[in-house]
């Protein structure tokens, strides 16, 4: 999924881009309102994160223009303006959520996942995910909800987690090398970094495995990569 981030502060922009990238999104960055509108037309993102106070066109202006052209794309404001009227105005203009600075990474992640769920629920969503629920051993993965269930336990998943589990589901029993997993879950333009992948798989195991030290869903294939026993 592609996310357009419009933010005039470079560090905030890069930080948000990293958070989104970690979650498994492809990001498009804009430093002002006009650039954001131009990139929206060129890149057709799946959803948009907008700062309000930007040079050129404000976040409100960008939101109004985007809504005029695309009534369904999810829009989320991320701003230091925290007045009630700012939030009301943003939501009235058609934004789906409003995050106020300073925010924590977990809060942004939770809000982005919530917007993604709404995005995935739309019939005309521009993504390429398998949305049908599937099972991996005793784990039921529900991609459209970015969640997995085991019995009564609900496990929150990132978009990247869903992509990885989707790949394992399609290749049950096969050993998948790191490059293949990277291409599928990180995108083709990312350079393979075994440590990044191993860390991610390790974190994923902590959440989906009953005993992460003796994994039953994702097992390690030494010298190659990983395999789903299914």
């Amino acid at each position: 999924m592609k996310v357009l981030i419009a933010e005039d502060d470079r560090h905030t922009l890069e930080g948000l881009a990293e958070i989104l990238a970690r979650e498994g999104y492809e990001t498009v960055a804009a430093r002002n309102g006009k650039e954001a509108l131009a990139l929206f037309h060129l890149q057709s993102p799946d959803f948009v994160c907008l700062d309000i106070m930007m040079p050129g066109a404000s976040g409100y202006d960008v939101c109004r223009e985007i809504r005029r052209r695309d009534p369904s794309v999810p829009i989320m404001f991320i701003s230091a303006k925290s007045e009630e009227i700012d939030k009301v105005l943003g939501l009235e203009l058609g934004a789906d959520d409003f995050i106020t600075k300073p925010f924590g990474v977990k809060e942004v992640v939770a809000r982005i996942r919530a917007v993604t769920r709404r995005c995935l629920a739309q019939p005309k969503a521009r993504h390429h995910l398998q949305l049908t629920p599937f099972r991996l051993a005793d784990l039921e993965v529900i991609p459209s909800e970015l969640r997995a269930r085991r019995g009564g336990q609900c496990i929150e998943l990132s978009l990247r987690d869903v992509k990885i589990l989707d790949l394992f589901h399609r290749s049950k029993g096969k050993a998948l090398d790191r490059h293949t997993i990277f291409s599928h879950a990180w995108g083709g333009d990312h350079l393979p970094n075994s440590r990044t992948l191993d860390q991610h798989i390790s974190q994923l195991r902590k959440r989906i495995e009953v005993d992460p030290k003796n994994p039953r869903i994702i097992s390690t294939v030494h010298g190659v990569g990983y395999r789903c026993e299914g």
């Binding site: 930080g15 230091a80 007045e83 300073p102 925010f103 924590g104 860390q199």
Partner: protein, 526 residues
Amino acid sequence: MKRPLAMALALVALLPLAGLGWMGARLAASEQQRFQQRVQALLETRLNDTKGRIQEFLQAHERQFQRQIQDLGALDAPTLRDLARNDALIRQVFVLDPQGRVLQPPLDGPLTAAETDFLSRARDILAGKDLLYQGMREGASSDSQARDDSGWFTWYGGRGLNIIYWQRNASGQTIGLEVDRVRLLAEVIGILPDTSGEAADASQGRIRLQDERGTTLYQWGPYEPEEGQAPAAALALPQPFSSWKIACLVPASALQAGPSLRIQLAAGLVAAGCALIALVIYLAREYSREMREAGQRLSFVNQVSHELKTPLTNIRMYAELLEDSLQDEGEEQRRKLGVIVSESRRLSRLIENVLAFSKDRQKRLTLRRRQACADDVIRSAIEQFRPGMEAKGIEIQFDGEAALPFEFDPDSLEQILGNLFSNVEKYAGAGKLLRVDSRQQDGWTTIRVSDRGPGIPRGQTEKVFSPFHRLSDRLTEGVAGTGIGLTIARSLARLHGGDLTLLPAEQGASFELRLPIPRTEDSAAP
């Protein structure tokens, strides 16, 4: 400026002005009364002087009449007629025996025309002997100057006032002298000032000598009174003119205090009014300036707080990202990063408190209610504080029984809990315990936050919720804080329709937060 304040300031100016005006009017009336009394006293003094001169003149005549009577040898008709003939002031002389019978003029002998006329005029007086005798006694008793054996007697008859001076000799006979009224009056007038007068000042007024009918017999003084003008002061004359009076008439302006007092009063009032108005204008301007400066300070704090948000966001975000990246790194690096993360969160809370306080002062504090679970918010808040609490050795116990979602503002609840936990971390670290209990019953969600710290003195249980209130230095010594955390926490709780209170506790402090659970349509249905 707000309308009620403008009205209050106008009242501040108008009420004292009205009071001053009323007191000024009272003072002016009182001054006028005192002035009139002084003028009255002055006029009476002048009249008394005149009366005194007349009295002295009449007493001199009395003494003269006494001598003349005493000098009479025999009380026969020729002797008495000589006396009347030789003294122009004496019209007739008569003698009564002790029983009041007329001895002279001789009723049985030849009478002169004057004697006949006198007897005719005085017939009633002489016939009623008792009346003459009684009259003499009355005259004697009514006139303080008179003695029992002499005095004046007057009666009206003929052409008006008739005057008799009488004296009783050793043998009880009464010798009476009928005095010529006109001549006596002329002599009295002779001792009074000239009509033309010396003083040209009309305010000196005019003094009138008036008879029993009010007819002016003589007058002097430069003032020309109007027809029918009442006298400002009047005084009865002594015997034998006791039915006459002297009256003093003065211009009306002489009885008025004059414009100077009114001008002084008016000037004083105007000056006081100007001073009051100037004071009110000064106060209003000072108030406006202070309000403007307070607004500017608030606006500045708002602006700075907003400006702090972006760098703070970056510090917190990058620290958290780094924390995630350093999962497998050494404990020391993770601890240092943890400090950056927890401190940036603390700074976030401080900024949120400042902004919330600013909104609270401007009555703009609002909530964003949504369906959420109170226990989730409590857990999230606890997790944020766990590293700091653990570093201080504070154990966190949470007994959560508020899992039922209801509509409230989770951000506000997190802010309330943040302020309560922050206080435990700052002030109650020695107790080594933070206990949180949540319950849901009877339409209320109740969250209790307790510690085993030094607690809050009984007298401070309400004051701790006042802005900028700090407990004694013993507790807060060396501990930083803004003093607005509990104020904001209570405001947010009350905005929900609930409250935040300090419960009595034997040890430590125990705060209870109560939030109402709104009745939904489902739960409201029978």
